[in-house]
Symmetry: C2
DNA sequence: GAAGTAACCTACTTCGAGTAAGGTGAACCG
DNA sequence: CGGTTCACCTTACTCGAAGTAGGTTACTTC
């Protein structure tokens, strides 16, 4: 009768405990929001006491930063994997967009932390981590655009990348909030975006 | 010697005190961030004690909501004023974009509350208020697009509006962060955005 | 099986949001 | 001018959650 209970209360090596804490924290942050999430509750659901969280993550903000950093790595891996094998720039961009939308769709809970900006409240470190996610996407877009628009001014490439990142963010929240007859798939979201921006993008060249 | 001090400590009618509190709160929220802003400090800078803030705004979140609502009204007024006298749809959209960028440029402090999503931390009411700002912009864009693309499917209009709103948000943060040689004006930001989206938008029609 | 260390806990401090209960003073009425 | 009233305002508290000090337990290693 104590077998299952012992499993929940057993001692764990640090790495494993950290993974568990991250998983639980992600869930509770997504469920309650950063502010309303209590460190005591996260600790309790881990079957551990609060000082352990502080031992491993330093602060509540540190725990949030770790969650965001993990999600950021997962997104980077997913998009990188998606773009290999693209036939041309248009195809590469579309594949990247689809991968982004699929990812945020599949990880809604975790991504509400980034998309809904729970981090701003937490403090500068968390806000910086979220900005780093966006910056990473911006860099990827700039590199892609630069490859097929070699003579467009740098500032235009940057602006275009910001447009795409901002649009992705908003579209992601938009289509996730639709159900039933109005439902929109990640692929359709990518198509909508491509339709609006692609012509303008491909015409961007030195005037 | 007490004349100036008396001015700071004088009794005020409710409406005037509320305006003062909003101004001080906006400043402190922008300066420290929502979390780090202490109600005691806001009260002190008003020359008043904390329970007065609670008397007038109910809670810390209520105070933030009031700040956001005020900014939302100002933005709505500024964009509405900008669009009158547009010669065609393209001109109307450009004017609206320029007004948005000029407004966020002029009110950086206040708009960091919206753009950097300080609200998510505060609670559901504040988050809803921020979403309402975005929703208002989306509705305006949809109405504009619908007027000159009467036969485009509704879902495409919505998607396009989300793209524009997301892009505006990101571009606003982007160009505000640039100085010196890299500086970008509100008008240039609007131009960059128009260049990327306009061709695609005007081609949007029933297939 | 003793030493050392990694994992863990109880019990506390601190700080800020929110509140209860009461004081003060200007305006208005008689 | 004396009293009443109501809006403005205060002091002094509670309460909850972040963060911490210092000690305890159990696993590893020789």
């Amino acid at each position: 009768m104590t077998g299952r209970l012992d499993e929940r209360k057993r001692r764990m090596p640090r790495a494993e405990r950290e993974r568990q804490m991250l998983a639980v924290a992600e869930e509770i942050f997504a469920e309650r929001g950063y502010q309303a999430a209590a460190m005591d509750e996260i600790a309790e659901r881990c079957g551990v006491s609060k000082p352990m969280l502080y031992e491993y993550f330093g602060s509540k903000e540190g725990l949030l930063v770790a969650c965001i950093r993990q999600a950021r790595g997962q997104l980077a891996a997913a998009t990188a994997a998606a773009v290999v094998g693209a036939t041309d720039p248009e195809d590469a961009l579309r594949r990247g967009l689809v991968a982004f939308f699929r990812f945020t769709d599949a990880h809604r809970r975790a991504w509400s932390l980034v998309l809904r900006n729970e981090a701003a409240v937490a403090g500068p470190a968390a806000a910086a981590e979220v900005e780093a996610v966006r910056q990473e996407q911006v860099e990827i877009d700039i590199a892609l655009f630069a490859a097929f628009l070699p003579d467009a001014p740098r500032v235009e490439l940057e602006a275009a990348a910001q447009v795409v990142v901002g649009a992705c963010e908003r579209l992601s929240l938009w289509y996730v909030g639709r159900d039933g007859d109005d439902a929109v798939s990640p692929e359709q979201a990518a198509d909508h975006l491509m339709r609006v921006i692609w012509t303008g993008l491909s015409a961007m060249t030195r005037r």
